[in-house]
């Protein structure tokens, strides 16, 4: 699964969310713990795969590995591609391992703390998560991202109201009574729409892989001087990566850029000169941080039941599909799921290192599969995922319809991760708003009655203000 994730992650445009979405039909036959271990393996593999294409082809497979290409690709051009891959692999491994340790200690204590969370806090936290993902994933298009958040929440409101069972927005169509399936929305907005976008834009994500020569990779050995540099970089980058990953909406992309920037500031002037020209520190820092952020993003999902990123939103949806409700009580009610996720992270890292590093050149060659085969296979997995879930034509038509709209929206840079996160959180958000409003007798004072709620809301406002300030600064 780690290798599968690596292959998907290497294809520019097809990131971890697509890889995990394509895995959903396979997990139907598994128990929740096994299903999640499989998804976590695919997740890490996809992130590492993204680094590989960044280094070998200067074509980051996922946004979280863009910073990797700054020094990884120049290193590969100097004939040290094997070394760059090894540094990336070891840094990923160390970053992932350290953050799994942080998670091991932090998650149970955070679970206990989160038991004190009340409905208003949860509601405010969801607003924060949605605003943050819109602010961070929008590439300067905050309003577009917020429109996608609203669209996701609107899609989540279709079907029966959870408390009164009153049907909403079904237009007397029985197929919509239970609402729109999460798997359907993920498959449509990611797997299917990405496949359609590739065809529409005449992209060939596999063409670059054909350029990779097995003989030009060079040695994968890391010398003592390089190791010493990595020993210093890895601990600080892993802390940054993990903390950024924990923040709702931030994720691997911001973590890797921040770690790269920080590393550049703390190294000597001599080393600073090497940044952008094949620096070991410059490659190790973003690689450590993006994998640490992946583990960090599990913290809000496991302890609060609120995903911190689009990828963990997909995993949360899958968990809900298994009948498992993540949150503070998951640690007590389903300890096997909780611990198996944490353990799978570590095992996934080890497998990544043992399996992927020596196999990278060969995996890169596998990617030379023409898009004429790749695209139909992605569509096939998407339709199969829906078919085995519902045995219903309507769901397939709905998926195609949503995929066509999503493809069109993607053309104009409307981001999809905010839509998915909003879709997953829609039901929970309504439930917590309902409780909060009923308890406060319809008054919105619950937003500032509790210090915790007020603090979360202030953070949300700060993110919006910071984003507006950044946009104005950029314009001027």
């Amino acid at each position: 699964m780690v290798v599968f994730g690596t292959i998907i992650g290497m294809l520019p445009g097809l990131g971890p969310m697509t890889a995990i979405a394509l895995m959903i039909p396979i997990t139907y036959g598994f128990d929740p713990a096994t299903g999640l271990i499989l998804m976590a393996g695919v997740y890490y593999g996809a992130v590492f795969g993204g680094s590989t294409s960044s280094i070998l082809l200067n074509a980051p497979g996922v946004p979280g590995t863009v910073a990797t290409s700054f020094d990884g690709y120049p290193m590969a051009q100097q004939g040290k591609a094997g070394k760059a891959l090894a540094i990336a692999a070891w840094s990923s491994f160390a970053g992932g391992t350290l953050s799994a340790i942080y998670l091991l200690f932090m998650a149970p204590s955070l679970s206990k703390v989160s038991l004190s969370f009340r409905s208003p806090d949860y509601f405010a936290l969801m607003i924060l998560g949605l605003t943050a993902i819109a602010a961070f994933s929008s590439k300067g298009q905050f309003l577009k991202a917020m429109m996608m958040v609203v669209l996701g929440l609107m899609l989540a409101s279709v079907g029966q109201d959870s408390l009164s069972d009153i049907t909403r927005f079904t237009f007397n169509n029985m197929n919509l009574t239970d609402g729109i399936s999460f798997v359907l929305v993920v498959m449509a907005t990611f797997a299917m729409s990405e496949a359609l976008t590739i065809i529409l834009k005449r992209n060939d994500p596999t063409s670059a892989a054909k350029q990779v020569s097995l003989t030009e990779l060079g040695s994968i050995k890391i010398n003592k001087e390089e190791r010493t540099k990595m020993y210093k970089t890895i601990p600080r980058s892993s802390v940054i990566g993990f903390l950024i990953g924990v923040l709702p909406g931030a994720g691997a992309t911001i973590a890797s850029f921040l770690a790269y920037g920080m590393e550049r500031n703390v190294v000597s002037d001599e080393e600073k000169e090497k940044f952008g020209k094949g620096s070991v520190n410059g490659l190790s820092a973003p690689e450590t941080a993006n994998n640490a952020a992946c583990s960090g993003s599990f913290v809000p999902m496991l302890t609060l039941g609120i995903p911190g990123s689009g990828t963990t939103a997909v995993m949360l949806g899958a968990l809900l599909g298994f009948g498992v409700q993540p949150g503070p009580r998951l640690y007590m009610t389903n300890p096997e799921i909780f611990w198996s996720i944490i353990m799978s992270m570590y095992i996934g890292m080890v497998i990544l290192l043992i399996l992927n590093l020596p196999l990278i050149p060969y995996i890169a060659r596998i990617l030379a599969v023409p898009k004429n085969y790749l695209i139909p296979l992605i569509l096939f997995f998407s339709v199969t995922g829906i078919y085995v879930m519902s045995f219903n034509n309507f769901d397939i038509y709905l998926m195609i319809g949503i995929a066509v709209v999503a493809t069109f929206l993607r053309l104009y840079d409307f981001p999809m991760p905010p839509l998915i996160l909003a879709f997953v959180l829609g039901g929970l958000m309504e439930e917590n708003l309902r409780r909060s409003l009923l308890l406060s007798n319809g008054s919105w004072e619950f937003l500032w009655d509790r210090t915790l709620t007020a603090c979360i809301l202030v953070t949300t406002i700060l993110i919006v203000v910071w984003h507006i300030y950044k946009t104005f600064k950029k314009k001027n």
Binding site: V388, L437, L438
Partner: protein
Amino acid sequence: MNINTTKIISLLFFIFSAFYLYTAYQIQVFAFDENAPFNARTFPIYLGYAGLFFSGLKLILPDPNTIKVEHKNLEYKKTGILILIAIIYGATILKVGYFLTTSLFLFASYYFLGERRWILMFLLSFPFVAAFMYLLHGILDIYLRDPFLQSIGVMG
């Protein structure tokens, strides 16, 4: 105001939000719930207003990052054919069955995307689907309805 496709999408979203809001107000709630602080239509009403707010802002504010899409460079024909094949696939999968429709869908998609290596096309459709079906149905015990295979006695 400069009119571009992003603005048109925002306008469409504005109209959609207005329709959503209208439909939200039409949601029938129980009589005792009508004046409750929160009922089945409360959250959708907020969402409708949020949709109007954000799309309205996008409509009236200047758009410095205008996205220009070169439509002549887009492959509408192949994409359209692929969508059509997927719709036909969706329409026939229940009646004909998973194996035959999926294999034909894959084979047709390879063909319309320009592939002409017939043996490879065949191997990556019929045997591939059979193997995948075996994985789902035979190993993972996920039920797959297939009237065609049932009619020829391959599936029970």
